[in-house]
């Protein structure tokens, strides 16, 4: 079991562009050629460290990010906040931290559709970002008191005489333990423990009067538990680490991880006492991460599609159009459809979204709707070499010989200006089904 998470021996098994691209795409949604070159030169350990450790942000990033953030909060417009977050994804020097922020946003899914406050969603987002590569237990404890979360899960409706089970159920089913690890009675008792967890004047407030201080029995433990106590009970339960492990594996390695992998990673989570950075560091340096069956095994989420295109092609995005596109493709930032978040994987894909992804490819290369792209013509040498260089850039190389041949033939016969020819080629490559895999 544990050998799955053993360190990938890059000296023996290779550290080439393929591995570097795999690492950067999974952790940062995309990377420019120079970033990939750098990673190849630095080797696995340094590349992983660069992702995990906090890197300083450029002045331009900070200035722009501040401008967008301020404007969003001033206007109270959630769409402006979405633009801001997308900008962070595109230009941050810490893409893994942003990915983990989105990861936890999905895990602790809260939607502005009910919260209706850009400010509160921003507070929650900052909280998540603070702990994204920090300690899961801390994040869990803090977000359970977050105002947006309590509004979303009807915390105020949970009262002594009339407990509302919504908060309890979602915390157990979707945040801590996962389906099947508790009984309905546990939910009822947990609801009692959380009575009084209210919001007043836009702040968390423990409503003593409404709190049911009696004895509760939850998951085999008994006592006059309050909300905080219950959170600790959940964290200690073995199902919790397994639940987090499943999500991490689904987010980094494979859509449906098997139980052996889950158990192995859960053990590491417990060993690190829920510190996420070392766990992720081990995961993205592990054999299972670089195993052949893990490559090209994840379907790009809409965020990864859009951010990936921009980071790879060195683009300057039109933020609001991109946010709208991601929403049309099923991923509306700050507004997940339900508290289950975005299931992802194959559910991103149906004929309608596939068409839109294809249209994204043609609009990226053929127009400026989503921003300006810097795919400068790389006509080094023959058409075949050009095709190879673009395939390398966009797909880390691997397509079948016949596909390569077809693309070369296309380029040979293509008319129009050089720019139009390469645009057409890039569009073709970005429409290949292979492009949807990361």
């Amino acid at each position: 079991m544990a050998h799955l998470l053993e360190r990938y021996d890059s000296a023996r098994h290779g550290w080439s562009r393929r591995e570097a691209t795999h690492l950067l795409w999974r952790c940062a949604a995309g990377a420019s050629p120079s970033e990939i070159d750098r990673s190849v030169d630095e080797g696995m350990t340094k590349s992983v460290a660069r992702l995990i450790d906090s890197q300083p942000e450029s002045d331009e990033f900070t200035a722009t990010e501040n401008l967008l953030h301020r404007s969003a909060l001033k206007s109270g417009n959630i769409n402006s906040l979405k633009n801001w977050w997308l900008y962070r994804f595109l230009k941050t020097a810490n893409p893994l931290a942003e990915k983990m922020t989105l990861f936890w946003h999905n895990h602790f899914a809260t939607s502005n559709a009910k919260v209706r406050s850009t400010e509160k969603m921003d507070v929650q987002n900052a909280l998540i970002r603070q702990h994204a590569l920090g300690n899961f237990a801390e994040l869990f404890r803090t977000i359970a008191r977050d105002v947006a979360m309590l509004l979303w899960l009807d915390g105020n409706a949970n009262r002594k005489r009339h407990p509302n089970e919504n908060f309890a159920r979602e915390v157990m089913e979707l945040f801590a333990l996962g389906v099947g690890n508790y009984s309905e009675k546990d939910i009822k008792e947990t609801a009692r423990a959380f009575t009084g967890w209210h919001v007043r004047n836009d702040e968390f407030w423990f409503n003593k009067v409404q709190h049911d201080a009696g004895k509760k029995t939850i998951l085999g433990k008994s006592g006059p538990f309050k909300g905080d106590d219950v959170l600790e009970i959940f964290l200690e339960h073995p199902a919790c680490a397994r639940f987090v492990a499943t999500k991490l594996l689904a987010g980094f390695v494979r859509h449906d991880p098997d139980s052996a992998m889950v158990d192995a990673l859960a053990e590491r989570i417990r060993a690190h006492k829920f510190e996420i950075a070392p766990v992720v560091q081990e995961l993205i340096s592990s054999q299972v991460f670089y195993a052949p069956t893990s490559r090209r095994a994840l379907i790009k989420s809409p965020v990864e599609l859009v951010v990936g295109a921009h980071r790879t092609l060195d683009g300057r995005a039109h933020l609001s159009e991109c946010v709208q596109l991601m929403s049309d493709l099923g991923q509306n930032l700050f507004e997940p459809p339900t508290v289950k978040g975005w299931e992802g994987g194959r559910l991103w894909i149906n004929s309608a979204t596939m068409l839109q992804r294809a249209n994204f490819a043609s609009q990226v290369t053929g127009g400026e709707r989503f921003g300006k792209f810097g795919a400068s013509p790389r006509t080094r040498g023959s058409e075949s070499e050009t095709v190879t260089s673009y395939l390398d850039l966009l797909l880390a190389g691997s397509v079948s010989k016949s596909t390569h041949q077809e693309l070369t033939n296309y380029l040979r016969k293509a008319g129009g200006s050089t720019k139009e020819q390469t645009s057409g080629l890039v569009q073709l490559i970005m429409t290949l089904p292979e492009y949807q895999l990361i």
Binding site: L298, E343, R346, N350
Partner: protein, 420 residues
């Protein structure tokens, strides 16, 4: 349309030979694969079009008990005059703006299920609508899946890549369609299904499109995700092509009205004729929350419903698809019997649902199903009492029409009705 599948095969095979030339074998494989998928859906061809009337339609002024004393007393300012109604029988008549639906009724195509509601009615828009979407009146909160979503989850192991349902012209995905294994797209218009071919010379654009279809036709051994993506790309290309062909050729003599619902139903009609394999369509008409001065606004709304619906039915008949279409309307609640002081009405309870179903499926005569709720025997809040649980209507649609078992979906068995 029985000819459509043959046409599809013929068209695609011909197109395939022309565009791919020597590479015919992979393409024919694709056509064969597509055909077998079509074969699967062959058996279950029936299509449901669900029309939501958002805001709480005033059922009492839609199907009017025009001679009932209680009605006349309760609605001094907002009543529909007996001379004006389109009489269905001696006691009930349709709002004068609903001549289209009256015709459907006379032709035996329209059923009116009366007195529909649920126990412990909730008079909040959001709660009540959630109840209609989730089919779980007992739940305190919407739990993340709707009745149609659950039905789809249970009907098929894997919907990924397919289009079993579509929401047309909505801003947010209707909760009825939320499921765990299915991701129902929203479509604003047919244009959303247009394949954008990029820029550059026309010949190159064409070649790119052909290449994309070709790549999508290959089978990828050993990588199920890739295979899945290819299949979906092929299906997307096919859908875009079909809709592209249709879009230009789409002709109908049906006089769709130039209003919101008319446009949406016309889009639905186009999508149906495109034979996408979609079985459930959802559209919504809003504005029914007529708390004051309701006469003009309500008349306009039921008029919009009637004209759009009858044009749609005419269109389907013209394309010989009527046998496969069932249309049902619902609203989150009716309105109070007694009008309020602003010549309007407030939130109420029981109301009717309209169902348009083909005659061939009929078990008994179409028409009025169930009695009109009493206007004198009211609930403690002064609203009409329901006698037909809405889940009975759902169960009937699910089992008799869509041929999905309804018990798990609805969390129980409900007596079915006779409208289909």
């Amino acid at each position: 349309m029985k000819t459509s599948r043959r046409n599809f095969l013929a068209r695609s095979a011909a197109a395939g030979v022309v565009s791919i030339g020597a590479a015919a074998p992979p393409f024919l494989n694709r056509a064969a694969w597509a055909a077998s998928e079509e074969g699967e859906k062959d058996r279950n061809d029936q299509i449901l079009v669900l029309v939501e009337l958002a805001g709480g339609n005033d059922g009492l002024n839609t199907v009017v008990p025009f001679s009932d004393e209680a009605y006349l007393k309760a609605r001094p300012g907002t009543r529909i005059a007996a001379e004006a109604v389109l009489k269905l029988d001696d006691a009930l008549g349709l709002h004068p703006q609903m001549s289209g639906m009256k015709e459907l009724y006379d032709e035996g195509l329209l059923s009116i299920v009366q007195g529909v509601g649920y126990p412990n009615p909730d008079r909040s828009h959001f709660r009540s609508m959630d109840i209609w979407h989730s089919a779980r009146p007992g739940d305190e909160e919407f739990r993340g899946d709707g009745w149609l979503g659950r039905a789809l989850d249970q009907s098929q192991k894997d919907h990924a890549g397919r289009l079993p349902a579509l929401a047309v012209g909505t801003d947010r995905l209707p909760r009825a369609l939320l499921g765990h294994k299915v991701n129902v797209p929203m479509l604003r218009s047919i244009d959303a299904f247009k394949w954008n071919n990029g820029s550059g010379p026309e010949a190159d654009r064409k070649r790119r499109r052909e290449l994309i279809e070709k790549f999508a036709a290959e089978r990828a051994a050993g990588n199920p995700s890739l295979d899945f993506l290819r299949r979906t790309t092929a299906s997307a290309a096919l859908t875009a092509k079909r809709l592209g062909e249709l879009g230009d050729d789409y002709k109908t003599t049906a006089g769709y009205p130039d209003n919101g619902l008319g446009k949406k139903l016309k889009t639905v009609a186009q999508l149906i004729t495109a034979d996408l394999g979609t079985r459930i369509f959802f559209v919504s008409l809003g504005g029914f929350d007529t708390h004051s001065q309701q006469e003009g606004a309500h008349a306009a709304l039921v008029g919009e419903l009637s004209t759009a619906l009858s044009a749609f039915c005419e269109d389907m008949a013209e394309h010989q698809l009527s046998d496969r279409i069932l249309v049902a309307t619902y609203s989150e609640f009716g309105r109070r019997v007694q009008e309020n002081g602003s010549l309007g009405t407030d939130h109420g309870t029981a109301s009717q649902m309209f169902v348009v179903a083909p005659k061939g499926h009929r078990k008994s005569k179409a028409g009025l199903i169930g009695k009109h709720p009493s206007l004198t025997d009211l609930d403690p809040e002064g609203d009409m009492k329901f006698h037909t649980d809405f889940r009975s209507v759902y169960a009937t649609i699910l089992e008799n029409w869509l041929e999905f078992p309804s018990e798990k979906v609805l969390g129980g068995t409900f007596a079915k009705l006779d409208f289909v």
